[in-house]
Every structure is written in C-alpha cells, then in structure tokens.
Amino acid sequence: MMELILYVVSRFLDIMLSNMSFREKSTWISFLLLLLIAVPFFYQFVRIESGASSSQTSFHLFLLLVIVFVVGEVVLHAIIVMQSPRDARAPKDERERLIDLKAMRVAFFVLMTAAILVIVLVHFPVDRFAIIQALLLAVVVAELTMLGARLVYYRRDI
C-alpha cells in the first residue's frame, strides 16, 4: 500500500514538474523556502513575547534561517538550471511578464493593507520590537502573496 502511494506521488510530481516552465519551478522554490523560514522565525517571536525565549536566540535563529534561505535558493536553482539550461538563459516572454505584473498588483494591495495595520498598531501600547516584527511580517506576507499569485496565474495559464 505504501509503495503504491509513493509511486502515485512520484508519478504526480514527475508529471507536474515536466509540465512546469523553468520560471514556475523557480517560483515554487522561492515560495516554499520563504514559507519554510518564515514559520519558525515568527513562531520564535511569539515565544519571545510569551517569555519562553530571548531576543538573542531570535537573532541567531534569524541568521541561521537567512543562511538556509540563501543556500537553498542557490542549490535548488542550480539544479533546475542544470535540468533546463536553455530555458534558464531565455528572457521572460510577454505572458510571463504579464503574470509578474498581475501578481505584483495583488501583492501591492496586501502590502498596503498590512502597512495600514502596522500604523494602527503603533497607536497601541506595544514595544518597538513588536512593531519591527509586524513590519517584517507585512513584507514577508506580501512577498508570499506575490509568489503565490504567480503560481496561481501560471496554473491558470492566464
């Protein structure tokens, strides 16, 4: 039974990856890596606020996650470049540029909304550290929205 599930999953991934353009794969890598580092980072912030951890630990975790993100981006992108070097060298075509613009517009509204929420937060009795974290969260959520919107548009073929 387990072998069957693994076979179905691997076949599904094979089909999905072979249907994806280089840039869609690249977007998936960035999206998943950003999600992978954002979740533990902001969870750590919640632990600091509840007194379960220190900001010094948070800084070390931040450095570690940045290294994981950069190394992950470089290694995984190197793999997909080796798989399709011609696609990697080719400039974006008009549909890909349109997808970028549409995704950017969606992310812009998310960033603006988040920025307004941070401005509101400033008027509450919260410390500077929490406001900086909220700003960082706004940027991360906007970036995830942009990458996510791109993935949706790639799948919908706009």
Binding site: S21, D87, E94, D157, I158
Partner: protein, 72 residues
C-alpha cells in the same frame, strides 16, 4: 478552446506542418512552450507582435491563424 473571444487554428496548423511540436513553434516564435499551449487553448491572447510571428512561422496570413468572435 477557452472562453476567449479570439479563437485560433494553431493546433490544426501544427498538424499540417508535420505535427510540429509546441516547443518547436515556441522556439521559432521566441516564447515558452507553456505560452504556446496557453494561446492554443485560448486561455491567453497574444500581443500583435507574437500573433504575426506565429502566422509567419506557418506562412499564412494572420486571419488564417486567429479569428475574432463576438461574445453574446
């Protein structure tokens, strides 16, 4: 075909050209294979420049590749 007002005969024209692949057409037009697929399925309307390039690859007038149909 999708719900796009611009219909096309790219699939038929590829067949007539000895079953030209989407990748071969994409390479000659200068777009990705996924973009050719999206155009062929009617999910994406190309720019005039790309439309003319596609017609030129098949050696036919633009109207033989793309047709505009009024939506009710």
């Amino acid at each position: 075909m999708g719900d796009c007002a611009v219909q096309n005969r790219i699939r038929r024209l590829r067949f007539d050209q000895g079953e030209m692949t989407q990748q071969a057409l994409a390479d000659r037009v200068g777009v990705t294979r996924q973009t050719v697929n999206a155009i062929e399925l009617g999910k994406y309307s190309p720019s005039l420049e790309v439309a003319f390039r596609i017609a030129r690859v098949f050696g036919v007038p633009l109207e033989d590749v793309f047709q505009f149909q009024e939506q009710p």
